[in-house]
């Protein structure tokens, strides 16, 4: 069990990290129109302030020895009954500080960008309030010191995403997408709820320190069950198979929301949950294998979907699924992978925010058109957007020295350490990444202009491009920084443990092979989408392309297996309730109906009615007697 450091000095502000954006959310959402003029700026400030505190905390942590970097802060006892207790208490350690910084710094950039992106929206203030809520919930999620409090952040993230995805509520598709995200996430929540209950039944506590301290005493069956339930939860939040289908619909939200969901918050929560619970997964081998399988399936599904979508945001969403698949796979590998899951999460957070905000910047200049078949040759008119986008693109496909190269390579390495099959699958998916991302860049910024007649593409204002530049700088240097300057492996080791296995071949072989595969994928895409003309209407395509456009039929499967049966059951029960249960008391119903004027029709021969009326009469008599006696 790790010894907790008292929350003193800057660490006494752990709760403030959450309270600031939460207060921002409360003021903006409850304050109403009065806060319209200054509200958005307050929203930016609260997140930025949390970011500053986060940086100070990181510096403070680095002063201490690695064993003394876990800080605990208890505010009050929150839920208690019998032997159950969950506190309003926080834990800040090497893992959570990484998330705090990612959430607040990338979050701040997204907030700033939104000042420009949402400048003309009437409900701008509400938007910033909900963004703040999102950040606050995510911070609570990563700072809670027990699973029940984590659940509050977990569901808070779900709520914020629901509100933001359906932000443009007048659009039925947006409202439907938000609801879908929430309900599918609820399926995952069932997993989290049950995992929490099973932990309490097994360990008598839901606190991280308690549970991890005695986890090895539980039977493997129990640990496997807890692990699988946590995986179900992670699948919901991180859009992993089979709960992936909400993510592409979530593109209905304003683009900064997509950046927030995909980079800094929400989808990373599942990875956090698994890595945080590493003690359980390390002890439950089969649960960890399930994690790998889910990760690999989603890695491929996402890449295939991303390769076929013509909608720039949906293609990026497919890429998120795929990249999170990498992280989940790494998290399933055990101590050889945990660190790299987080490393990739961090680099992905930066370059994916850059890509989404870049896509938003493109849309901003293209009348909100998302169809890449209507883009082309935009590099000339949107220099900054194109430049930063291409840097982030090089990062995601893993070209050295950009940050994705380091983190993805580490995951592929770790995969080979575990099994050649996992390694080869992860490596090939990297080639596919090269394909779909090059396709996107080629269709958007290169080739011929295929703009619609009323499109007048232009570069976005500085308030939007400066965040892009900062993110591009991050995507360029973050990977090198975390490998050569600050070693993320040794930083996280106290939390996750680190293990390395000797590989059959020297490591440069894997690196080079991956790079070659990526370049092949990129070359194919370049030839097909930059050198050749891209038709404005999508060609019919192969069966795989068509399936990928349909998101591999995830929605159809859900509909057939879950949604339709639910509604059939519902309608059947409504019928039954009217005819069956209510019909059973037909006698009284008929009698009752009679009193409202229909009595005559039923007056003959309903013994039950008469019995009932006698019963009623008897009771009234008793009542009258009692009342008389009372006076």
């Amino acid at each position: 069990m790790t010894e907790l450091m008292p929350a003193e000095g800057v660490f006494s502000l752990i709760w403030v990290l959450i309270a600031l954006p939460l207060a921002g959310a409360a003021i903006l959402l409850f304050g109403g129109r009065r806060t319209n003029s200054w509200g958005p700026y307050l929203g930016v400030l609260t997140v930025a302030a949390s970011g500053v505190i986060g940086v100070l905390m990181l510096l403070g942590m680095m002063q201490n020895s690695p064993e003394q970097r876990t800080y605990g802060q208890t505010l009050f006892t929150w839920v208690f009954s019998g032997s159950f207790q969950a506190d309003m208490a926080f834990q800040l350690d090497q893992l959570s500080i990484i998330f705090v910084l990612l959430i607040t710094i990338v979050g701040t950039l997204i907030h700033v960008y939104s000042l420009g992106y949402m400048a003309h929206d009437d409900n701008r203030r509400k938007f910033f309030g909900e963004l703040n809520l999102f950040v606050a919930a995510m911070l609570l999620l990563v700072l809670a010191n027990n699973y029940l409090l984590l659940y509050v952040g977990w569901e808070g993230v779900g709520l914020a995403s629901y509100l933001l995805i359906s932000f443009w509520q007048h659009k039925p598709s947006a409202a439907a997408a938000g609801k879908k995200a929430f309900i599918i996430n609820r399926v995952g929540d069932v997993g989290l709820s049950l995992a929490i209950m099973l932990m309490f039944v097994t360990f008598g506590s839901v606190g991280f320190q308690d549970v991890f301290g005695v986890a090895d005493q539980a039977s493997e069956g129990t640990l496997t069950a807890i692990g699988l339930l946590l995986l179900l939860a992670a699948c919901g939040k991180s859009a992993q198979f089979p709960l992936q289908s909400w993510l592409l619909d979530a593109m209905e939200g304003p683009t900064p929301v997509s950046a927030l969901i995909h980079a800094a918050t929400m989808v990373t929560a599942g990875v956090y949950l698994i890595v945080r619970s590493n003690v359980i997964f390390t002890a439950a081998e089969w649960a960890a294998v399930a994690v790998i399988v889910v990760g690999l399936i989603t890695m491929w599904m996402g890449a295939i979907i991303g390769s076929a979508k013509d909608d720039i945001k949906k293609s990026l969403a497919g890429s998120t699924m795929s990249q999170i698949g990498y992280m989940i796979t790494a998290a399933g590998l055990g101590p050889i992978g945990y660190v790299f899951a987080i490393f990739h999460l961090l680099t992905h957070g930066v370059f994916k925010a850059g890509l989404f905000l870049g896509a938003g910047s493109v849309m901003h200049g293209m009348n909100d058109n998302v169809n890449m078949r209507r883009y082309g040759a935009l590099r000339g008119v949107m220099v900054i957007t194109a430049g930063t986008f291409i840097i982030c693109y090089l990062a995601i496909i893993g070209i050295p020295p950009f940050d994705g190269f380091f983190s993805k390579d580490d995951i592929i390495h770790a995969s080979f350490e575990r099994s050649p099959i996992i390694g080869i699958l992860a490596m090939l998916a990297a080639g596919l990444t090269g394909f779909y991302m090059t396709r996107m860049v080629a269709m958007t910024f290169f080739g011929k202009a295929r703009w619609e007649d009323d499109a007048h593409p232009h570069e976005s204002p500085k308030v939007m491009t400066i965040p892009l530049i900062i993110l591009a700088i991050g995507a360029t240097f973050l990977g090198m920084a975390l490998v050569y300057w600050g070693n993320i492996e040794s930083w996280l080791e106290p939390v996750t443990g680190v293990e390395t296995v000797e590989l059959a071949l020297p490591s440069w072989v894997y690196e080079l092979t991956t790079l070659v595969l990526v370049l092949i994928g990129a070359a194919i895409a370049w030839v097909s989408y930059a050198r050749r003309d891209v038709p404005v209407e999508a060609p019919h395509g192969s069966w795989l392309t068509r399936a990928a456009r349909e998101e591999l039929y995830g929605n159809q499967v859900n509909d057939a297996l879950v949604v339709q049966p639910t509604y059939y059951t519902s309608r059947l029960l409504v019928w039954f309730d009217n005819k069956g249960v209510d019909g059973f008391v037909n006698g009284s119903a008929a009698f009752v109906g009679g009193l409202s004027g229909r009595l005559r029709r039923y007056q003959t021969g309903f013994a039950r009615s008469y019995a009932l009326s006698m019963v009623g009469g008897a009771v009234l008599v008793v009542l009258a007697l009692v009342l008389v006696r009372m006076s």
Partner: protein, 518 residues
Amino acid sequence: MTTFPWLTTLGVVPLVGSVVVALLPRGRGLLAKQVALFFAVLTLGLTVAMALQFQGDSSEPFQFVESHPWIPTFGISYSVGVDGIGLVLVALATTLVPIVILAGWNDVDEDGGRGTVKGYFALILVLETLMIGVFAATDVFLFYVFFEAMLIPVYFMIGRYGGVQRSYAAVKFLLYSLLGGLFMLASLIGLYVVSAQLTGTGTFDFLTLTGLEIDPGTQKLLFLGFFFAFAVKAPLWPFHTWLPDAAAEAKPGTAVLLIGVLDKVGTFGMIRYCLPIFPAASEFYAPVVIGMALIGIFYGAFVALSQSDMKRLFAYSSMSHFGFIALGIFVFTSQGQSGSVVYMVAHGLSTAALFLTAGFLMARHGGSSAIADYAGVNKPAPVLAGFFMIAALSSLALPGLISFIGEFLVLLGAFERYLWVGALATVGIVITAAYVLRLYQRTMTGPVKPELEGMHDLRGREITALVPIAALTIVLGIFPAPLLNVINPAVDRVMTSVGATDPTPTVGLGTTVEGTDK
């Protein structure tokens, strides 16, 4: 311990208020409302003053106890007192009454022809007296009297001030309740006879009755009478069919008091009377009750999913929630029972939020409660939509709100006793989310219906009524200690009286060591 007769005072104040309101001249509707509100707020103030003196860690089972002989021949006395469970339910009732009065300010007008304005508000105050009485009674006969007497004001509130089918709904409600009450009366008499056999002198005193060692066979019989009355009141599946009609025909305020508070008497009765007086029978019937509760959770939720009428949707949703509450009571764990009591409070608040917000909405559109008559309300009335969202989230038990704490503890309590029951019930949270969000989606989002374009957003009075509910829902969700501190000791006593103990963890920390901050 103070000797001031807190509970009697609490009960008398609204009664006096109702007499004053009733004596006002006809046509002075506004004055009647103001007087009614004054008395309701006064009662709430007294409740707060009383609650502040409640000793959470007291060793006495009941506090603010008063006892006076009433019908000594039959061992009946006017005895009142509250434990933590009674206290929070009394507080729920006295909190909701002023809110309902304020919210229903314009619900009744003098020209309606059916009933007078003052009549409606006088009935609300009478009902408040009876609700306080029913939660405070410590004499089972006194409880029964309040239990039955409550029907009368509600009957008139629905039958006289309700919608088109009001008569049908009111009589259906009355008959169901009377039938339940009759069974309870029979059991009550039986209980008296048994107590006479066992102690020599018959009694209705609750504490004496819980100390009796009643023969298990007799318990099983007597339990049924009480349970049936409570299961109709709560209502549990399959005794629920009166509820949708009553909810649909009642004024929003009436529905809030009916479903939010009155129906709690059913679940309150189960934990207060069925368990401690009939422990063996409770254990014997637990599987049946749990079965009914589970069916109710899913049945209510599934039926709610396809409702085309808002009020009926809320009614079926409540039925589903009552399933959770009953489940928590009958799994015999501290978490389950504490959770149930918290759930009762939370459900009272969420029901109030839902019915009142929907009521404000309906009042703006000819009183229609058909879901299909609304769309895109968020645009003309964002504040209304905002409160509707909070109500919806409270209903689906969003973590961070008080309803989550109730629901989670219930599920945890069920899970630790019967793993698969708890696991199955947990799946219910998905369907709850589905029907609640579907309702929000259909009414509040999408393109605005043309006839709703010019709709006014909520006004000051309406916001004033909703803010306390929303605030309590959020604040108690973050800091539920004020509730848990008083509920937990009462639940411990119930657990002791049925001889139940919580299962112990399989490994590790044991039952006495817990905490998350070590």
